[in-house]
């Protein structure tokens, strides 16, 4: 089986993603999320539903001083994270607001429910040395809790900083192993919608087949641009990006880094063949150097 480490997949709709992982005839249409942040109201119902359904332990009750966000970011025990950004005097294309007849405002909220991107080229999966992380028949990326030995390699490999090793002591479920969103693998198997999308009251989180979500995202973007929201942009929708397109894509209203997302994520394994070549050359240099060291005269 040839494995493609980066770049556009032959079928951008993604059915080949699970096929390439060896699912053969059992493969299902690739599913994912489209999170439309323009209708997110920051209710955090997704965070709560995710915690409840997946029985995720608490990870502290801290006040972080970052608007209404006291979760902080995605991690071992936060598989959905709602970002809150308060912007005053944000830059908007001149005239766009007044065209709609609304008074120009110098303040806005940005809210975004972040989640694992379930990358087409998933670095966490590539680097996992035990085979614990695997590609499901739905094209998603999931940790097998009973296999992971907590080596922690996936943590720095993820270009989005999503996956994390759970800490908290022996009393905590899955302590010491890598944890992240499973896209509710158990619910998918039963034909159900993931908990976060099911509970989202504004349909900011939409669940569905990847190719359909991409169409919906493009249509929504066109709608917003038509309404004068020029700053709207899609993120993770492009199958030719550095991760081969995300299984969880977003509509954002500002630069990705404003939400804590990397502006141009690239799967680290894209460069792995080159790394191995350099390492082989370096190893050969060491062997040759050692051999030469013994050529000198005795004494």
């Amino acid at each position: 089986m040839s494995q493609q480490l980066h770049g556009t997949q032959p079928d951008p709709a993604g059915r080949d993603v699970s096929a390439a992982a060896g699912w053969g005839g059992q493969k299902r249409p690739r599913v994912g999320f489209f999170t439309d942040t323009s209708v997110c109201i920051g209710c955090k119902a997704c965070e709560v539903a995710c915690k409840e359904w997946n029985a995720i332990p608490d990870d502290g009750y801290n006040l972080l001083g970052s608007s209404y966000d006291n979760t902080g970011g995605l991690g071992a025990s936060s598989w959905r994270h709602v970002a809150f950004i308060e912007q005053s005097a944000f830059t908007e294309e001149p005239g766009t607001v007044s065209e709609r007849g609304a008074a120009p405002s110098d303040f806005r909220w940005l809210m975004e429910s972040d989640v694992c991107k379930h990358c087409t080229h998933a670095a966490c999966l590539d680097v996992c040395p035990t085979g614990s992380l695997f590609r499901t028949e739905f094209g998603t990326v999931v940790v097998q809790d009973n296999i992971c030995n907590g080596c922690g390699y996936c943590v720095p490999a993820c270009p989005f900083g999503v996956i994390e090793r759970r800490t908290g002591g022996k009393a905590v479920k899955n302590n010491g192993i890598a944890q992240k969103c499973t896209l509710c693998y158990d619910r998918l198997g039963a034909g159900m919608t993931p908990a976060c999308a099911q509970t989202c009251p504004t349909e900011s989180i939409q669940f569905g087949d990847i190719d359909e979500l991409r169409q919906r995202a493009a249509a929504r973007l066109a709608e917003l641009h038509g309404a004068g929201t020029a700053e709207a942009r899609l993120y993770g929708h492009d199958p030719s990006d550095g991760i081969g397109g995300a299984g969880a894509m977003f509509l954002l209203l500002d630069e990705p880094e404003t939400y804590g997302l990397p502006p141009d994520p690239v799967v680290t394994t894209r460069d792995l063949p080159q790394m191995w070549r350099h390492a082989a050359l370096a190893a050969a240099s060491l062997a040759a150097g050692a051999a030469v060291s013994f050529l000198g005269r005795r004494r």
């Binding site: 040395p129 630069e255 804590g260 050692a290």
Partner: protein, 304 residues
């Protein structure tokens, strides 16, 4: 010097996560290099008839790889599951590749070291050990360079800015560091007449390491800052000073036993500083979103 770049972040929080690895891992980077280089010295000494260098190098390799394995298991979130590493062999995972390299290297080093005590072994084992010493030592020497080099790929194959951006030079830096550490250990433990190869290996290692480090500085972009600032900066400066001191001691006084011991110790310390310096620099580059955002914006062509 690169001017302070302006960038946006989410409350200054990291974008990529730093590795959850603790001091076990930089210690392993050091010990693995020492073991790989020592395996080469041991085999070379065996073939060229330098018994003290052979014995001490083999024992060093065994001790270093033993401590390495302990550190690697200790660093796991679930140490009891360390054998799960052997479930699969994945070329896309440098850690899996490394596991299999060590699985071959460890026993080879063990047999080669055990052969040093063949005379004191129980009678049925004696002949086997005497026979197996050389092939095992040569097998260890074949895998030694891989042990020393793959760890660079291990840390480069991440989204950690300093480690990833240094992926072209890190293997050379690491094998240089391995050569100077194992050469230094040879100078430290072996009398001057037999330590010639150790001295030459150390000198070559210092030169390669310094050259690779210099080259890496320029390809890192703004992440190079992480090699200069704070604790990593201190470690990298110490590493360089110790390497240069060790080099001078080796070249000008390597045939004086006391000078050789001092130079060897300096070289070992230098290698340890390098590994810890690179490790902490990477961790810092992951914690500061600047090193993720600024280069990514620049390559997207939207730099401010």
């Amino acid at each position: 010097m690169v001017p302070d770049a302006e960038f946006t972040s989410y409350y200054g929080r990291p974008i990529v996560k730093p590795s959850p690895w603790r001091e076990d891992i930089p210690a392993y980077l050091f010990l693995g290099g020492l073991a790989g280089g020592s395996a080469l010295l041991g085999a070379g000494a065996d073939v060229t008839g330098r018994p003290t260098l052979r014995r001490n190098s083999r024992l060093t390799a065994l001790g270093a790889i033993g401590l390495s394995l302990a550190a690697l298991v200790h660093d796991l979130g679930r140490p009891a599951r360390f054998l799960n590493m052997l479930r699969v062999a994945k070329p896309t995972s440098p850690m899996s590749v490394g596991t299999w390299i060590l699985t071959g290297f460890g026993p080879a080093v063990g047999v080669a070291a055990a052969a040093e005590f063949a005379d004191r072994a129980p009678r049925p084992l004696r002949g086997t050990l005497r026979f197996a010493g050389r092939p095992a030592g040569l097998a260890a020497a074949l895998l030694g360079p891989a042990v020393a080099a793959y760890t660079a790929v291990l840390i480069s194959d991440t989204a950690t800015p300093t480690w990833h951006e240094g992926h072209r030079e890190l293997p050379f830096l690491f094998v240089g560091s391995a050569a100077l550490a194992s050469g230094g250990m040879g100078m430290l433990t072996v009398p001057v007449p037999q330590a010639g190869p150790a001295r030459r290996l150390a000198v070559g290692g210092v030169l390669l390491e310094l050259a690779a480090e210099r080259r890496m500085e320029s390809s890192l972009g703004i992440a190079a800052e992480t090699l200069h600032d704070g604790t990593p900066g201190l470690l990298m400066r110490a590493s360089k000073a110790l390497a240069v001191a060790g080099l001078a001691g080796t070249v000008f006084a390597g045939r004086d036993r006391r000078a050789a011991v001092a130079a060897g110790a300096a070289l070992l310390a230098s290698s340890a500083c390098t590994r810890f310096g690179i490790f902490y620099a990477g961790q810092h580059s992951a914690r500061d979103p600047k090193y993720t955002v600024v280069p990514q914006r620049a390559r997207r062509g939207v730099g401010r």
